[in-house]
Symmetry: C2
């Protein structure tokens, strides 16, 4: 019995980049899990996990919080299934991709799409989201929205290493898609689940890679409401 506690908006919106990492990691391992949607203001639903952020995975009697810890748990517990890392070196390097995504990609992407998120939230969550994010950024969502073109311009150089990589190889993880691909994909999936903003040109190698990932696992990433921009 496996339950993935996932951040959710209204109307089936699933936009958390961290929860997508775990969803795709489970799919990669071929493991079923019941998804338990939790709104921002339903932290009591997973308070048993001892912390306040999602995803949380219950795997039998075990509770694992944090997407990185979940990936390591799945890799170490289900060794006979397809590898998320494939060895200690790949695990170490995947952690770099994880840290790059968290410290560079997500902070650059966030101001480009944050204004579009509240429309997918219930009123209580909307108030919570606006209050916490406006405090974090020190400006209103509307102010950030007005500067979107400048945020998009700042995103471009952040994408440079990813673009160069995907010009030379089909997957971040080399031979085939693995956990590092899902880490970075989660960021773009976050964007495409909430916003129609156009992040990539038609001929961008990152776009081709995204399309390949969207097709994986019987189109899992397309099974939720999203935009095709």
């Amino acid at each position: 019995m496996r339950i993935l506690y996932e951040l959710a908006g209204r109307d089936g919106r699933r936009f958390s980049p961290f929860c997508w990492r775990s969803r795709l990691a489970l799919a990669h391992k071929g493991l079923d899990a019941t998804c338990e949607p939790c709104r921002f203001t339903e932290k009591d639903k997973f308070a048993f996990s001892g912390q306040e952020r999602l995803p949380v995975l219950m795997d039998g009697s075990k509770t694992i919080a944090d997407s990185w810890a979940i990936a390591c748990h799945l890799e170490d517990t289900y060794r006979d299934r397809p590898a998320l890392f494939g060895g200690p070196t790949s695990r170490g390097l995947s952690r770099f991709v994880n840290d790059w995504t968290d410290t560079q990609l997500l902070p650059a992407l966030s101001p480009c799409i944050i204004f579009d998120i509240p429309q997918w939230l219930d009123p209580e969550d909307e108030a919570y989201f606006r209050r916490t994010r406006e405090a974090r950024y020190g400006r209103t969502l509307e102010e950030m929205h007005a500067e979107r073109s400048s945020h998009l311009a700042k995103l471009a150089p952040v994408l440079a290493p990813l673009r160069r990589l995907l010009t030379d190889q089909r997957w971040i993880s080399g031979g085939g898609p693995a956990y590092s691909d899902y880490i970075v994909f989660g960021a773009f999936q976050w964007a495409r689940c909430v916003s129609d903003v156009r992040l990539l040109e038609d001929d961008d190698p990152i776009r081709f890679w995204l399309t390949r990932l969207v097709e994986r696992f019987d189109g899992l990433a397309d099974s939720v409401p999203h935009f095709d921009s």
Copy 2:
């Protein structure tokens, strides 16, 4: 018979971040190579390789140009020696580290130290270096030097993913040092070979990692003139 054609300044200065990748890759594999120093204006020395940039490795009858190609050649040719990557996934992910270093780390580091390079060059090289770099940046080396504190401030966020990674693990490559560590190390070795600028605080996890790498291979990175800042 193995010859590594390396960029060199006067008085034994070896500062190319790309050449250091290959030097350390050879040391990791336990392979000897004669180092052939080439100045910026001695491109005729390695013109046989068909291109204008260093490093170039001659390995028996083979000529390999470009540090990434050299690493792949060494890994594929000397399979029984310690692994630089350790599998296709790690090779793919190391390429991301390579692209991140080339598109983010080196461009952020360069304006912090570029003013200090000409003093280690012979007069002909100095003129070549100044002309090409000032054209590339659209400003004089002196102008860049005057803005050093602002360049250092811009370097800080670029280092964020590396710092976070090395807070959690001892090596970029996970279980032990491997090619990804040498890629990133080459950038810092470049700086410490030409400049006394202080890039890292005493308690920075990146500094501890650098120290561990400096000690490798009987202190290879300390065997050339350098600063300890």
